[in-house]
C-alpha cells in the first residue's frame, strides 16, 4: 500500500539522518587528550613535632641496605586528632591477609574510630582498584605500585603512593624458606644447583604475569644468571593454581605468595627457592583524589591511625602477642596458627627511594609500561606520613 511505502521511506530517512548527525558530530569533535589529573596536592599544614615520635620516626629514604633501621614511634603514637565530622574511608584490597594487618587490626582496635573515621575494606583485584580509586569510588587501595598504577599516572590519573606496607622478615635471603620465586628442580640440568639461565624459554607462574612489582627483583636474579625475564613465558594464575601448576610441571617456576609456599616448603628435594624480595617494602597504600585533595584532612587522619596501629600492635615480636594474633586471625578469617606458622612481617610506613625507578625500568624492559620512567615525586607523596610523625625535613 502507498501508506506503507511512505512510512518505510520516512523511517529509513529518519534513521539515516540520525546516523549521519551522530557520525558528523563525532567526526567534527576533537579527541580529548588524556588531560592531566587534578592539580598539585594542597600544601600540607605546618608540620609540628609529635609526641612519641622523635628522631627514630624518620630514616633516610635512600637507605635500602639489608640491615637498615625501620622508623618507629612509641606505642600509641602519633596521638589521634579527631576529625570534626565523621567520615567513611573505603579502602580496596585484593584479599585479606597478614599483610593487611595495619588496616584490619586498626579497624578492630578502634584506631581509625579515634580519628572519627569509619573504614570499609572491600575486596577487588588490584587493577580494578586502580580504576575505582581514580574515579573516586574508593578512597584508598592496599596494593602495590603495579604497572597499572604507573600506566594510570602516566595517563593522567590522580594517584599517589602515600604509605608503605611491610618488608619480609628475611628479605634478600633465599636460604630461608619464604614467599618468593620457587623452581622445579627436575626442570634443570643439575637439580641440586638449579641454574636460572635454564629458565630461558620456560614458563613462570604468578598472579598478574609480568605487570607485578616482583618482576624487578626477579629480573635482577635472572640477569645475574645471564638471561632476562623477556626470555620466559608468563602464566597468570591464581596463587593456589600456581602451586598446582608447579607440582604438575606445567610451569618450571612460580612466584608463590604467603601462605601458598608453605605447601611445598618441606619438599626441598623437588623444589628450591631461587629468589626473594629484598629487605624493602613492595606493597603500599595508594591514595586517590578523594584523600589527596578533596579531603586531605581525612587522608592525614587515615595515615595517623595506620602508623599508630603499626607502632602499637605490630612491632617486632607481635607473633608472641596472643591478643594481636587472635584479633588479626579473626579479621582475616583464619586460625591463629596460620599466622604464627609463618615469619613475622616487618611493618613500616616509609617508602624507600629508588625502588620505583627500578620497578619502572623493568616494566619498560618487559614492555608493560608505555610511558618513560616517571619521576618519583609524581608517584610518591611522603607528606602524609611526615606530617603524621612530625618530620619537617630537618
Amino acid at each position: 500500500m502507498k501508506a506503507d511505502r511512505l512510512r518505510l521511506t520516512r523511517l529509513g530517512g529518519v534513521v539515516a539522518a540520525a546516523i549521519a548527525v551522530v557520525i558528523g558530530l563525532a567526526a567534527c569533535s576533537s579527541s580529548g587528550t588524556g588531560g592531566g589529573g587534578g592539580g598539585p596536592s594542597a600544601s600540607p599544614a605546618v608540620i609540628v613535632p609529635v609526641a612519641g615520635c622523635g628522631a627514630a620516626a624518620h630514616t633516610d629514604p635512600t637507605d635500602r641496605s639489608n640491615n637498615r633501621t625501620i622508623a618507629r614511634c612509641s606505642s600509641g603514637a602519633p596521638a589521634p586528632q579527631k576529625l570534626l565530622q565523621p567520615h567513611t574511608v573505603v579502602i580496596a584490597g585484593a584479599s585479606k591477609g597478614e599483610y593487611s594487618a595495619p588496616v584490619l587490626l586498626g579497624m578492630a582496635k578502634g584506631e581509625f574510630a579515634k580519628e572519627n573515621l569509619t573504614v570499609k575494606f572491600v575486596q577487588m583485584p588490584s587493577s580494578d582498584a586502580t580504576v575505582q580509586l581514580a574515579s573516586g569510588k574508593v578512597d584508598a587501595a592496599l596494593a602495590a605500585p603495579y604497572v597499572s598504577f604507573t600506566n594510570g599516572v602516566a595517563s593522567g590519573l590522580d594517584l599517589k603512593l602515600t604509605l608503605a606496607n611491610y618488608s619480609p622478615q628475611y628479605g634478600g635471603d633465599a636460604t630461608k624458606p619464604q614467599s618468593g620465586l620457587w623452581v622445579r628442580r627436575a626442570d634443570f640440568a643439575d637439580p641440586q644447583k638449579p641454574d636460572l639461565a635454564q629458565l630461558k624459554g620456560k614458563r613462570i607462574c604468578n598472579t598478574l604475569g609480568n605487570g607485578t612489582v616482583s618482576v624487578y627483583w626477579m629480573q635482577k636474579a635472572v640477569q645475574a644468571a645471564g638471561i632476562s625475564l623477556k626470555d620466559v613465558t608468563w602464566s597468570a594464575l591464581q596463587p593456589a593454581d600456581c602451586v598446582t601448576a608447579l607440582q604438575q610441571g606445567a610451569v618450571s617456576a612460580a612466584y608463590l605468595l604467603d601462605p601458598f609456599w608453605t605447601q611445598i616448603k618441606n619438599q626441598t628435594d623437588k623444589y628450591a627457592l631461587a629468589a626473594v624480595q629484598p629487605n624493602e617494602p613492595n606493597g603500599a597504600i595508594l591514595y586517590g583524589p578523594n584523600l589527596l585533595e578533596k579531603h586531605r584532612d581525612v587522608g592525614e587522619a587515615f595515615a595517623r591511625a595506620y602508623i599508630r596501629t603499626i607502632n602499637t600492635y605490630l612491632g617486632p615480636g607481635y607473633h608472641q602477642n596472643a591478643t594481636v594474633v587472635n584479633d588479626l586471625a579473626q579479621e582475616i578469617g583464619v586460625e591463629p596458627s596460620a599466622i604464627t606458622n609463618g615469619y613475622e612481617l616487618k611493618f613500616e610506613w616509609e617508602w624507600r627511594s629508588g625502588i620505583l625507578d627500578d620497578i619502572q625500568k623493568t616494566y619498560l624492559e618487559l614492555g608493560t609500561q608505555k610511558a618513560a620512567v616517571i619521576p618519583e615525586d609524581k608517584l610518591v607523596d611522603r607528606s602524609f606520613y611526615n606530617q603524621a610523625v612530625g618530620y619537617n625535613g630537618k
Binding site: 529509513g12 557520525i23 600506566n151 605487570g211 604438575q248
Partner: protein
C-alpha cells in the same frame, strides 16, 4: 481474490465479510519493493552499530565520560595497530578461534548424537535426562579447577571445558527438536514401511534440523563466551588473555579493542552456522525476523 474498485465504494450485493484489497507496490513492483526493504534492513543493520560507535566517540571527545578510563577511538586504533604490528593480535585471534572451533565441534557433535538418541528413545530419555539436567546447571567455569587437575594446564582442558558447555545447549535443542517432529509424520512413514534409517533420514532429520540449528547458533556464541572466561583464568594466550592483561596493566585501549574483536568473531561464527544451516535446509523458512515470510 482482489477486485479493482474505487476506495470507499461498496460492492453491491457482496457479503460484508469479504475483504477486498487493491494491489499494492508489493504486487505491482515486487522487485523494487524487495530492493527497498533490503536496503532499509541493511541500513539499520549497519547503521545502528555505527551510530553506537559514533555516540561513544562523541561521549569521549566531549568528556561526557572520562577519556582516561574510556579510551577514545583514536587510541583504540593506535592500540590495534601496535598489537597487530607486534604479532600479538593475530596470534591471539588464531589461538582463540582454534580453541572455540575445536571445542564447539566436539561439544556439538556429542550433543547432537546424545540429543537425537534421547529424543528418539523414551527409555533413554528417562534414564539420562535427570542426571544431565543436574549437570547442566553447574557453572562450567566452576569446573575449571577440576578439569585442570584431570587434563593439566595445556590446551586439552580448554577444549574440554568449551565442549562440555556447548554439549548441553546442543543436547537440549536436539532432543526437543526430535521430540517435536509430528507423530503423524512418523505414523505415515511407518505406514509406508519406512525402516529405522529411512525414518531418520527422511522424517526425523529434516523435521528436527531447523531447531537443531537454532541450538547450534546459540552454542556458537556460548563457546566464545566460555572461551574468553577460560582465557581470563588460565591466561597465557588468546583474546581473553589480552583483555585481562589490558585490564591488569591498565592498558584499557587494548582491552576494549579485544572486546570488540571478540564480539565480531562471535557474530561471524553465528553467521557461519546460520549459513551452513541455510545450505543444508533449503526447505526451511528464512528465520530472519525482519524479512518477509
Amino acid at each position: 481474490m482482489t477486485a479493482l474498485r474505487p476506495r470507499g465504494a461498496a460492492l453491491e450485493g457482496t457479503d460484508s465479510t469479504v475483504l477486498v484489497r487493491q494491489p499494492g507496490p508489493q504486487e505491482l513492483h515486487p522487485r523494487r519493493t524487495r530492493g527497498r526493504r533490503r536496503a532499509l534492513e541493511l541500513t539499520l543493520a549497519i547503521g545502528i552499530p555505527v551510530a553506537l560507535v559514533g555516540l561513544y566517540q562523541l561521549a569521549t571527545s566531549q568528556r561526557w565520560i572520562d577519556p582516561r578510563l574510556y579510551p577514545t577511538l583514536d587510541e583504540m586504533g593506535r592500540n590495534t595497530r601496535d598489537l597487530w604490528n607486534s604479532g600479538q593480535l593475530w596470534d591471539a585471534i588464531y589461538i582463540s578461534c582454534k580453541r572455540a572451533l575445536i571445542g564447539f565441534l566436539f561439544g556439538a557433535g556429542g550433543g547432537a548424537i546424545v540429543g537425537y538418541l534421547m529424543g528418539a528413545s523414551r527409555l533413554l530419555r528417562a534414564a539420562l535426562e535427570p542426571t544431565l539436567s543436574m549437570l547442566y546447571t553447574v557453572p562450567k567455569l566452576a569446573l575449571l579447577p577440576v578439569f585442570l587437575t584431570i587434563f593439566g594446564f595445556g590446551e586439552r582442558a580448554i577444549y574440554v571445558l568449551i565442549a562440555v558447555t556447548v554439549f548441553f545447549f546442543v543436547w537440549i535443542s536436539t532432543m526437543a527438536a526430535v521430540m517435536s517432529v509430528a507423530v503423524g509424520y512418523r505414523e505415515a512413514a511407518s505406514t509406508f514401511g519406512a525402516g529405522r534409517w529411512q525414518m531418520f533420514r527422511h522424517v526425523l532429520l529434516p523435521g528436527a534440523l531447523p531447531q537443531v540449528f537454532v541450538g547450534l547458533r546459540i552454542a556458537a556464541s556460548v563457546s566464545i563466551l566460555v572461551l574468553v572466561g577460560v582465557e581470563f583464568v588460565i591466561g597465557s594466550s588468546g583474546l581473553g588473555y589480552l583483555i585481562n592483561q589490558g585490564r591488569n596493566l591498565l592498558l584499557l585501549g587494548q582491552a576494549y579493542v579485544c572486546i570488540v574483536i571478540v564480539a565480531v568473531i562471535g557474530y561471524l561464527f553465528m553467521a557461519l552456522v546460520r549459513l551452513i544451516g541455510r545450505l543444508l535446509m533449503p526447505w526451511a523458512p528464512e528465520d530472519n525476523a525482519i524479512g518477509p515470510q
